[in-house]
Amino acid sequence: MNDNALQAIVSCRHLNKQYGQGEMAVHALQDVDLDIRAGEFVSLSGPSGSGKTTLLNHLGGLDRPTSGEVTVAGHRLSELDKGELADLRLNKIGFVFQAFNLIPVLSAYENVEFILQLQGEHARQRRARSGEMLAEVGLQGLGERRPGQLSGGQQQRVAIARAMASTPAIVFADEPTANLDTAAMDELLALMSRLNKSRGMTFCIASHDPRVIEYTLRQVRMRDGRIEVDERA
C-alpha cells in the first residue's frame, strides 16, 4: 500500500468488474486504481457506459468486484459480510442518488433522522441534528413534509442533509442533478461546494454534466471502464 492509499479515505486497487462470460463478457471496470482523500471534491465523469456509476457503486460498497480491492476508512470491503457492509455504509458513507432518494412514508425530518436512529442516537439529539441539517441545506420549515410534497431539488437537498447527518467519511452522489432544472441544479452544486469548503465534507460525484464537473476540484474522467484522466483544478 503506497502513501496515497494510506492517507486516502477511499481507495481501490486493480479493480475489475466483469458482467457475463466468454464472448458476451462486458468489462465494466478494468484495472482501476483510485485514491480519494479527506476533504476532496471529486467528480467521476465520462460518457454513458464508461463505468462511472459502476465505480461509484464499488467504492460505496453497493457492489462486489470481480477482482481487486476497495478500502473505505481503513476497512477492506472484501473482508466484510453483508451485515458488516451495511454497518460500514451506515456509519462511514453517505449516498445521494439520481432519484428515489428518500423513504416515501417518512417526512423530511424523519428521513434525516432515519440514519441517526439506526446509529442509536437519542431522540432529542436526533431531532436537534435533523433540524440543524435541514436548516443547513435551506429547508427549515419544510421538515414535516413527505417526499411527495417536495420538489426534486428539495428532495435532493433532504438527501444531502441525511448524508451529512451521520458525519460520514465521504458522500457519494450518483447523477444528483440529472432530474433538476438549471436553478435547482445550481443551488444543489453550490450547496455541496459550500459544505465541502466550510465543513470539509468529502464528495465524490458521478456525472456526465459539464456544469457539475466544473464545480469539482478534482476531475476523474472514465472511458471503457478505465480512468482516462485524473486531474485537479
Binding site: L62, G83, A86, R89, F97, V105
Partner: protein, 410 residues
C-alpha cells in the same frame, strides 16, 4: 424514545396505507376468514351441544346402569334388583343432578285398527324431571301423576298410526318374567311431542304398573342419571363400577355413539375449516405481499444502501404483514361477535322442518363461543397469517439486489 423496532413499526404502519385498496382487500380476506371460522365454530358447537342434549334427554341420560347382557338383549330376562343402599348413597351425592330407575322392554301395542312394535318404558314421573324429555313433553291430556298411575302416554305419531285419542284404550303386550305373554289394557292418559322417532317408538306407563304387568316384583331393567357437570362423568363412572362391579355401567358415549360421533365430527369440521381458511388466506397474503414488495424493490434497495441490515428489512416487512393480518383478525372477531350475539336467543332451524332432527339437533341452536375460544382462534389465524408471510418476505429481502437503487424509476 422510539428505537429501531419503533421506527420499523411506524414505517410498516404507513406502508400499509400507501395502497389502501390492496390493504383493504387483505383486511377483508382475513376478516372474512376469521369471521367465518368463529361463526362456523359457534354454529357447529351449538349443533354439537344440541345433538348431545337431544341424545341425553332421549331416555339416555349421561350414564346408565344395567344388568350385564341387558344392552345386547333388552328384556326382563336381564333385569336387576332395585338399587341397594351403597348404590343409592352414591346416586344421592351432590354432584348427581338426577337419577331414576326404569323398566324398559320391547312390547307391542294394539288398537282397534293397528298393532305396532314399541318400547315400553315404566317410569317414576317425579324422577324424570331434568333427566328425560317426557317430564315436559305431554302436549295433550295429562302427564302420569305417579309411579302407580294406571294410564299410558303415547307419542303423537304413534297415536296417529293407531288412530287413538286421549281417553281411549289400547292393549300392551310383552314377555313376562316367565317367558309368557303378558298383556294389559291401558287408558291413554296423554300424548307427548318429541322427535319423530321418540313419538313412534316410546310408550310410558308408571313403573309399578310395568313391574306388575311383567311380573318382576320390585326389579328394574336400568338406572339413568345425570351429573351437574358432565366433565366429571368419567370419574363418577369409575366410582360406580367399584360399588356395583357386577353391573354394567356405561356412559352416554357408549350408549349413543352417534352423538359422540357428532361431537367429534364438529371438531374435525372446525379444524378442516381453519385449514381451508389458512390456505386461502395464505395464498392471498403471499400474492399481495409479493406484489407489494416487487413494487418497492428500489425502496428496499435504498434501505440497504443506507445501511439497514437485511434482517431489519425483513423485520420491517414482517411487521407490515403482522399489522395487516392483526387488523383483519380484529375485524373478523368484531364481525363474529356481532353475528354470535345476533343469534344469542337462538337460531331457529324450523325452516329445515324435520331436517334438523335428521342432523341430530333440536330445532333451535344457540351459537356460543367462550372468550378463550374466541381469542384462541383469532390468535391462531394471526399466527398462521404471519407464518404465511415468512417465506415471501425472506425471499424478497434476500434477493433484492442493492444495485436496484440505480434502476430507472418505473
Amino acid at each position: 424514545m422510539m428505537g429501531k423496532s419503533g421506527l420499523l413499526a411506524v414505517m410498516g404502519w404507513r406502508n400499509l396505507w400507501r395502497n389502501p385498496r390492496r390493504t383493504g382487500l387483505i383486511l377483508v380476506a382475513v376478516g372474512i376468514g376469521v369471521w367465518s371460522t368463529l361463526s362456523f365454530t359457534a354454529l357447529l358447537q351449538a349443533w354439537s351441544a344440541s345433538s348431545l342434549q337431544t341424545a341425553l334427554i332421549d331416555m339416555t341420560g349421561q350414564g346408565q346402569i344395567h344388568a350385564r347382557g341387558y344392552l345386547d338383549n333388552p328384556g326382563v330376562a336381564h333385569r336387576m334388583a332395585p338399587p341397594r343402599a351403597s348404590l343409592k348413597a352414591l346416586l344421592k351425592r351432590p354432584e348427581v343432578q338426577q337419577w331414576a330407575s326404569r323398566v324398559r322392554v320391547p312390547a307391542a301395542i294394539q288398537s282397534a285398527y293397528e298393532t305396532l312394535p314399541v318400547s315400553l318404558i315404566g317410569i317414576d314421573p317425579a324422577r324424570e324431571q331434568g333427566l328425560s324429555f317426557i317430564a315436559t313433553a305431554v302436549s295433550a291430556g295429562q302427564p302420569l301423576a305417579s309411579a302407580d298411575s294406571p294410564g299410558i302416554l303415547l307419542g303423537r305419531e304413534l297415536a296417529r298410526r293407531l288412530r287413538i285419542k286421549v281417553g281411549q284404550r289400547i292393549v300392551l303386550m310383552s314377555q313376562d318374567a316367565n317367558g309368557a305373554l303378558a298383556e294389559r289394557g291401558f287408558k291413554v292418559n296423554g300424548l307427548f311431542s318429541a322427535t319423530r322417532q321418540a313419538e313412534k317408538r316410546y310408550v310410558f306407563v308408571g313403573i309399578r304398573q310395568a313391574q306388575s304387568m311383567l311380573g318382576i316384583g320390585q326389579s328394574i331393567t336400568g338406572i339413568a342419571f345425570n351429573l351437574h357437570n358432565i366433565n366429571h362423568l368419567s370419574r363418577f363412572l369409575g366410582q360406580l363400577r367399584q360399588v356395583v362391579p357386577k353391573l354394567d355401567v356405561q356412559s352416554w358415549e357408549t350408549l349413543r355413539p352417534v352423538a359422540k360421533a357428532v361431537s367429534q365430527l364438529s371438531n374435525s369440521f372446525i379444524l378442516m375449516w381453519i385449514f381451508i381458511i389458512f390456505v386461502l388466506m395464505a395464498l392471498g397474503i403471499v400474492n399481495t405481499l409479493l406484489m407489494s414488495l416487487h413494487e418497492r424493490v428500489r425502496e428496499l434497495a435504498l434501505l440497504q444502501a443506507l445501511g439497514l441490515r437485511p434482517n431489519l428489512i425483513f423485520t420491517q416487512v414482517m411487521m407490515e404483514s403482522a399489522l395487516v393480518v392483526l387488523l383483519g383478525v380484529v375485524l373478523g372477531m368484531v364481525l363474529a361477535a356481532v353475528t354470535v350475539l345476533a343469534f344469542h336467543n337462538g337460531l331457529n332451524l324450523g325452516f329445515l322442518a324435520r331436517g334438523s332432527e335428521w342432523l341430530g339437533a333440536g330445532q333451535v341452536l344457540y351459537p356460543r363461543l367462550n372468550i378463550s375460544q374466541f381469542l384462541g382462534i383469532g390468535a391462531l389465524i394471526w399466527v398462521l397469517g404471519f407464518t404465511a408471510s415468512l417465506l415471501p418476505a425472506w425471499r424478497i429481502v434476500h434477493r433484492v439486489p442493492i444495485e436496484a437503487i440505480n434502476r430507472s424509476p418505473s
